[in-house]
Symmetry: C2
Subunit: 426 residues, 2 copies
């Protein structure tokens, strides 16, 4: 039996630079291949490599339409000892049939050859437009260059190369002490899209130099994803390409982390912390959103009731519109609570904006609207819904809905096809 330890807190984590190469023994690189547009020069192909053997775990989209790279990753990851991840933006390689599988394989094969590993030791992730073939002829010939560029400070370039409509790269890393010795865990991510209901792909690559037993890595990864990315990609509305990969290579000197090692709880908390920070960055950078809102539900009869209420409110167009206008419209919130399907009693529902009560027992609480507006007009606030029926709770992170969002999303496909035609590729 392990000795009882206090739960890890924020104070156990020291933020450090370096993102996905903060952990020892990992290198990364990125180059520009013109995947979306052959004349563009932005970085769009990234590589992350571990210099030693790894335990690697992945969580992939639950969408029944799965991109070719996702299908391939799910096969490769079973084999163990993953050494590299190749990732591109500009094309999702989704809805591309057998050609898509062949292109994804070609990417892993080219990397494997240059690194001198087996093809099954390489994972691949893609993000971008759906339904168009990957311009593979502009990708595979460049893999040598990509491998040449590998660097222990390559995280920033890699984080830029996976961006699509993201306005900024997303990177986070921490150092943690286990029995007097440090280990590092960090990662990069891309999000954007409205997060919910969302078609923009969420990609997240995390590395750690802790040595982690594969079974424990699986448990820790699944639990951390549930408490971070699953709270922003609401209701299973995941894209065809969503992917979270965690690689652990044991380059630090801490003892192997198994299900009940002294540092197991610490490792789990550290992984959760890194994912939650990256997930929050994704929400904040949602396409043209102006508000970051946490919806907390408490007092639900069951966990599922708390979850469905939080998700329904976070998803309601009319609620999101009211936040955008800085409007403390609790009527729209209780209405969404009502149609969520959860067991609720209207006459028990309390709703708060920040710390201010807006509705008490399903009726207006009498707090002056001007006070409530001060909260909702902020760029970041919390909405708390107390169902006063039980002890279950759940929280999700979401955004408002802006006019710019609609405008931004109105003509992606046509624009892409026309761009292709203009460059002589259609």
């Amino acid at each position: 039996m392990s000795k009882p330890v206090a739960s890890p807190t924020e104070f156990d984590f020291k933020e450090i630079p370096g993102g996905v190469t903060a952990a020892k023994g990992f290198r990364a690189s990125a180059i520009s291949c013109g995947i979306k547009n052959p004349t563009a020069t932005r970085l769009d192909l990234a590589l992350i490599v571990s210099d030693r053997a790894t335990a690697t775990e992945g969580c992939f989209t639950t969408n029944r339409v799965k991109a070719a790279p996702v299908r391939l990753c799910q096969q490769h990851i079973k084999e163990g000892d993953i050494r590299a991840i190749i990732a591109n933006s500009g094309n999702a390689n989704a809805c591309t049939g057998l050609q898509g599988i062949s292109d994804a394989k070609a990417m892993t094969k080219a990397v494997a050859q240059k690194l001198g590993v087996r093809m099954k030791q390489v994972l691949v992730s893609s993000t971008g437009i759906i339904g168009m073939n990957m311009p593979i002829e502009r990708v595979t010939p460049r893999i040598g260059e990509l491998v040449e560029a590998l660097d222990a400070k390559g995280s920033d370039a890699a984080s830029q190369a996976i961006m699509t409509s993201d306005t900024k790269p997303k990177s986070y890393a921490i150092e943690v002490e286990c029995e007097g010795k440090p280990f590092r865990i960090g990662g990069i991510a891309k999000g954007a899209g409205m997060i919910c209901p969302n078609m923009a792909t969420m990609l997240c690559f995390i590395t750690t130099d802790a040595a982690v037993d594969p079974a424990e890595l699986k448990r820790a990864t699944q639990s951390a994803v549930e408490q971070s990315f699953n709270r922003i990609t609401i209701d299973g509305d995941t894209s065809t390409n969503d992917t979270v990969i965690v690689m652990s290579n044991g380059a630090s000197e801490i003892p192997l982390i198994k299900s009940r090692s002294p540092c197991t709880e610490l490792f789990r908390a550290a992984l959760r912390k890194v994912m939650l920070e990256l997930a929050k960055m994704c929400v904040r950078d949602g396409e043209r959103v102006t508000k970051f809102v946490e919806v907390r539900v408490q007092g639900a009869r069951t966990y599922m009731d708390a979850k469905v209420v939080a998700q329904t409110v976070a998803k309601s167009l009319l609620v999101k519109c009211s936040w955008h206008g800085g409007d403390p419209n609790w009527g729209r919130i209780i209405h969404a609570v009502g149609y969520s399907g959860a067991r609720i009693r209207e006459e028990l529902v309390d709703i708060y904006f920040g710390g201010l009560i807006a509705a008490k027992n399903g009726l207006t609480a009498g707090t002056p609207v001007k006070e409530l507006e001060k909260v909702v007009k902020k760029p970041t606030f919390t909405v708390t819904i107390d169902l006063n029926l039980g002890a279950a709770n759940y929280n999700v992170f979401t955004t408002d809905l802006s006019e710019e969002y609609v405008d931004f999303n109105a003509a992606e496909y046509s624009a892409a096809v026309h761009a292709k035609r203009q460059t002589g590729l259609a």
Copy 2:
């Protein structure tokens, strides 16, 4: 056994004017009470009366948060022989607790007294803002006037009085022949809001001078609602006040319609036709929408699979944005199909815009984008999704999502509270 008859077709229905007073023995009226704003002069209180006994059926919101008038209607309608419906816009009388119930009762009581019927023979419907008390002192003293104004041509005024953000009144009526004798069925409705996910109340009042057995009226009403209003208010996202009421008074000379009378099928089809026309008017008049889209799903394994796919696509923000931009983005559609939860096989999915195939077997079908754009740029079109797995189908009516919609819905509550304060009522 009834003799077999051909299914009724459009040719059996003759469109006539008159809306909710097209049927014999019904009268309606409307006045302006300044419910939302005491200084405004728009019609906001309507009355519909049957001059003789009725069989009356209602369908009410499934939202667990129910407005006071909905709760009262559900009680009164059980008693039978409903004679009148009083309906107002400007205040939903929802989330108003015991005061709300008391106000709704006061409205039915005032009408009952003036008409000389029992309070339980009067139904009440309200639509407007949630969470504010009904200004009942401006309503009940005016009921005498409202009764005085009753007129066999009063439908137009009543249809205007129930409007909220609707841009035009909604009215439809038909005349139908049963065994050589005519009966009439018609109604008025209000919709607006985005229809899905929707907080704007949908109200619909239908009258017929056919004599209909209460059990058959219930069956016919439920079935017609399922095939009309339930195809626009998607996924149970009904407002706190949604109400459909059908009154039948037997003022025509056709024989009583029971479950297997000669005209039963005709009556059912006629009721469905009236509801479907009114439901379509609600979608077309959705707040600031620019497109009217029918989503048809066919080839599903089960009815529930077809339904969930249709609803998920019709609800997807990113799909709606693409329609708004006239963008034939089938990738976003197949993505929504994938996360709907229905059993699908990506490699079997076909997607059509109008009659043009955009995706075949989950891949681009090669139809020129310019051709597809011609369809999606129209104000009205159909999207057909063939899952190629079975024989079940389902269709829903929906809209695009426009920048104006977001803008329009951004500050309702604050504006209402501030307006109240300015007029000295807060």
